[in-house]
Symmetry: C2
Subunit: 171 residues, 2 copies
């Protein structure tokens, strides 16, 4: 069975080594060690998303407040790119597949997400070109990792998952 990582690489066209080149340097520190570049990026991103002319994509986010979506994203990015673990302190583990489970994350949705993120990166002057390249590869691979994970959790359904239910929990 093809792994989540293999599917993410194949579908995104980004090798795992390029996706996780974000870990070669501390991007948070190299951008000045402040939250601002990430706050800018997430503001730019979600402003586009919440105003997307494509209703089907905008609808995916309709259940969340824009300011919450922005904070969740920049806290995750700051933590993942070498800064303080703001996301985990407030919300726990990133759990990228679990937290995306309520949404149907298709290839088409991933491409729309990436389209807006590319535009948002282009508009964020506080992020240098080399960091933008690394972040683009990370985002592209991660988007398709989530597509693969979303597909996996839906395929499993309740039938397979419940085979362990015979183990008689305590109460």
């Amino acid at each position: 069975m093809q792994s989540l990582q293999d599917k993410a690489s194949e579908w995104s066209g980004v090798a795992a080594a390029d996706a996780f080149a974000i870990d070669d340097v501390n991007i948070f520190e190299s951008l000045g060690g402040t939250p601002q570049p990430f706050v800018d990026l997430s503001n730019n991103f979600y402003t586009r998303v919440y105003e997307d002319e494509e209703e089907w994509f905008r609808e995916i986010f309709a259940g969340s407040k824009k300011e919450d979506a922005i904070q969740n994203q920049y806290e995750f990015l700051i933590q993942r790119m070498g800064g303080p673990p703001l996301f985990s302190q407030r919300r726990g583990h990133p759990a990228l597949i679990g937290r995306h489970r309520p949404f149907l994350v298709t290839h088409r949705a991933a491409e729309r997400w990436l389209h807006h993120m590319q535009q948002a990166l282009d508009a964020t002057e506080s992020i240098d070109v080399d960091s933008k390249t690394k972040m683009t590869n990370f985002f592209r691979h991660t988007a398709y990792f989530i597509v693969a994970g979303n597909e996996m959790t839906r395929q499993q359904g309740h039938g397979v998952a419940c085979k362990h239910a015979t183990s008689k929990p305590a109460e």
Copy 2:
């Protein structure tokens, strides 16, 4: 609705700040900057798990080879505790909820897991007392975070999840 983080804290008895005190120092570096302490810990842990007298618990792991389980765990721990991102380079994002989705992670299973991990920590001399305390809090909170996530993904089922399926993906 109570968040995953709140459930994890309530059920584990460990506040988020204590669980993520693992990030206050770089534990990987403070243990010598080598994989060995984590390899020792995971070996100690899975040797107990694969020989557990409780069949219902042992069965949860029956589909995986012991050496793979050991490697997955120590690579995750090394990455999460400040070392090189070995897990993501090989397998992608930790995705703790998604990767535990095939298993029924009950409160009882969490307690059994924690029982073996406590014994494994006690037996691992290459980890100092302060790091053991931090890791115990992290493990306890994380185990119940996964219980909460497991419950969430099972409750959602396919009915709720598919409400977005009306958005007509491209193919």
